[in-house]
Symmetry: C2
Subunit: 585 residues, 2 copies
Amino acid sequence: MVTRLSNFFLRTLREDPAGAEVASHRLLIRAGYIRPQAAGIFAWLPLGLRVKAKIETVVREEMAAAGAQEVHFPALMPRESYEATGRWEEYGDLLFRLQDRKGGDYLLAPTHEEAFTLLVKDLYSSYKDLPLTIYQIQDKYRDEARPRAGLLRGREFTMKDAYSFDSSDEGLDVSYQAQRDAYERIFQRLGLEYVIVQADAGAMGGSRSEEFLHPTPVGEDTFVRSAGGYAANVEAFTTAVPDAVPFDADAAPVIFDSPNTPTIETLVAHSNAHLDGDYTAADTLKNVVLALTHLDGRRELVIVGIPGDREVDEKRAEVAFAPAVVETATTDDFEKNPLLVKGYIGPWSPTGAVLGEESATGIRYLVDPRVGEGTSWITGANLDEKHAHSVVAGRDFFADGIVEIADVRAGDPAPDGSGPVELARGMEIGHVFQLGRKYAEALGLKVLNENGKLVTVTMGSYGIGVTRILAIIAELNNDEKGLIWPASVAPFDVQVVAAGRDQVAFDVAADLSTTLEAAGLDVLYDDRPKVSPGVKFGDAELVGVPKIVIVGRGAADGEVELWDRRTGDRDALSIAEAVERLTSR
Amino acid sequence: MVTRLSNFFLRTLREDPAGAEVASHRLLIRAGYIRPQAAGIFAWLPLGLRVKAKIETVVREEMAAAGAQEVHFPALMPRESYEATGRWEEYGDLLFRLQDRKGGDYLLAPTHEEAFTLLVKDLYSSYKDLPLTIYQIQDKYRDEARPRAGLLRGREFTMKDAYSFDSSDEGLDVSYQAQRDAYERIFQRLGLEYVIVQADAGAMGGSRSEEFLHPTPVGEDTFVRSAGGYAANVEAFTTAVPDAVPFDADAAPVIFDSPNTPTIETLVAHSNAHLDGDYTAADTLKNVVLALTHLDGRRELVIVGIPGDREVDEKRAEVAFAPAVVETATTDDFEKNPLLVKGYIGPWSPTGAVLGEESATGIRYLVDPRVGEGTSWITGANLDEKHAHSVVAGRDFFADGIVEIADVRAGDPAPDGSGPVELARGMEIGHVFQLGRKYAEALGLKVLNENGKLVTVTMGSYGIGVTRILAIIAELNNDEKGLIWPASVAPFDVQVVAAGRDQVAFDVAADLSTTLEAAGLDVLYDDRPKVSPGVKFGDAELVGVPKIVIVGRGAADGEVELWDRRTGDRDALSIAEAVERLTSR
């Protein structure tokens, strides 16, 4: 049945909605695809629902082709299983929590690993039942601190989440690869360029983890890639660990006066003026004091030594210390630890180690991988306005561990030896994880193996944000006039516009719409009787159906215009030619 | 693609699940359609999802045919609009309420009148935009006090809720009729017998309201119907109000001693023994003391006078006093009101009215419609062990109002004069309401009419419980072996069972499955290699696919058995005949 605009539930808006900063947010609202209900929560109008359904169909088809079976869980889930895996706490404020009338604790699930694990535990018991991959397309909730950019970071979103179950690591590799391949096909069908990057598993736990990023300068994620094929998001990038440097011949550390040098910049200038040598920030060791808040509420100070030419990357620090929350130490923290001389902190002092092994402060000292054995540094001497040079790692100080929180820069070597990396930006469009046995262990999912022994199942988790992808497609496909949908997900295949004043234009447009619909196309027919052609064209450009047929003055002579929304080309054609062109693919 | 049982996510259970009392609950779990997650909250397995999708398709097709357009709202909604209509309070404990990280109040929507009203207000402004009917198929939440019977009364359920918007009452009638007709078609297509009964609008407010009930002795709703076509649920039944009776010639009330007669039964026996006349319970006036708890927490006593042969119907009382909560008065209530002499309460006393107008107690006195002007009663005299006779309504006492809380009985006259009613039981399968202007007024939904004046929009609300219907179909279609799906909603059209030990049975079964699938049927092929035919047959009966093909010993000779799950008939046929029979409709 042809959809007629005269009674279609649509009202396009002339004005940009307040607070909508990104194009997809602005245009999806203006063109009548979604309506905001609360911060980061949207209702779907008929146009939006059509696009969403098309994306879901692509996802379902590729899941079926990959042998995944569809199930469906409620959004409202009881606390217990999330408690067992620690995520009831770990998710912090991101979780919408509530109680039922009996005081039972529930949550709106941000993801369903626990539920899927328990379902399989509930029903399956043998390795013969595996492998199994099951998925759902479902509405999820996360109480984001700053919901923004419309559907790109909302508090409710539709996600396809799949989970694989295997009795062996080799099996997991196969299941993981099947989902990874399916994701490639999905993004290819949706016309979404992607890069697969190594990712950190974050709060999900587990081992192998890759993200599908759409590369775009406006992406909110940064990733690195080398010409030799290495790609990782910044959080997952690992620094190539340098070989140990021999230090037997090195001179002992020397303390020197360094008045007014609390910053690396002032320290380097002072060193070049007063020491023998030509120093850069990379020769200095910066010691950053951080405060971690652990899940149990405990606050812990840690000090991290990184080369002075590097900055702390907040996201890398977040991941490195997760699930603890990281912040910079406060004045109060320094006051409570008088051994820490702000601006002059270092791992060594003439009276013995201040940080690291046998530390007098009791504060953990972690270092960047570049602070390897034998490296020599100019660094704070733990005395006001004094630094020391020739302070050698592994001789004068020993760290309690290695941590990756320094920023990654273009030119840094890829850890796999594939050359220097470049930085790029992207938007996350999918994520595949090898969860391993974390959830199965926490929830007791075991099966009998070939030898009749109970083995813990190994799992994978695979997510695509359906509504997020919709927004990204909108973000990538628009101009100043409105949306321009790719044919694969357009709400309609063609929009027919009756643009004349004469009845004949309407009669021809109605006939043509019926013909096209009968040929299997989804047709939106703008039959509004008293709306000017200009307004109709403007609405068509805003709504973004890829092909538009204008039935106007030439209608009486059997002539129409075929308008390509993307190229802007308008071709005058006979009706038969227009039908031929539209139905030929 | 043929679905093969060997890797289909299904595990049938031999044992009935604990606490599952009704057949649909028991069988849907045992046969692997759903799994419980919490009280009244279920996950959907592949089989269940298939049946649900088929029901949703029928609903979507009929909604489209009725001109309704699909939208979708989130389950998580902000408090404000529900506050404006009073439902944030009215819903009481039925509502799942929660707060976000900023302390904002939210709810899990039990229904979406407010959201739809605001959406239309947001986008439309003229009578020319109307009529409009929009709907969604969406997961809703109600925190039922006693979730039970599986999907029949869960705390999460999938519902199709439609809302119509019109600028005139006549328009509403048309929109209402279109949905009502669509509901009839939906139930006809699903093979669900139904009765349309007048219903009380309950917490929804509004005027015309009808329920679609499936008549069944195990239904939880009681309804009445007359041979003349009247049908109503018990809550909506109205008592025919008798004409006033002349009472000029009646004697004045007379007090008499009635020791030990606190019940109607003892009072009638005493009256027949000591008064002149032949009395039945219907001659006595029973005065029931009820305690109402209002939304604001205020507790109010009311007394209701009903004929002594009637009982209070709890559901009718609930509806009559909604949104207040009704309970029987407590001992404490009586102690606080010493004028109420328990067992001997009446509306009249020798010292003046105790109840009703100018009541000394200050308690509201309401009466059943049968206690009309001029009716004469034996009733309490407000003195211990004393009653009075010849107490005449409209002369000796005056009620503060009429209320319908007495039970309805077979033989009671239908209010429309269509004869005596009979009582029957049914299950609610759909509900259509004329909401009128309640929501539009509360939320300010107005449009300009033909004369450029703002008029408040009038609305309808139309609901079908998709998951409830699925359960009801399961409830009506099973035997001691398992489920028996009607073809219109069966998860598969045919189940092919390879029942032989020889490879030939498997080869033939696989070929046949492919042939049937290619002919457009959904095929479930039981290809499990080491499972006995008996177990396979048992599973097939439990799962309930309507047609089963057994490929066994005769396979080598090209012979199979076609088994009708409902009738139990098994016909030996050639493969070609079996294909012909299965694909001929």
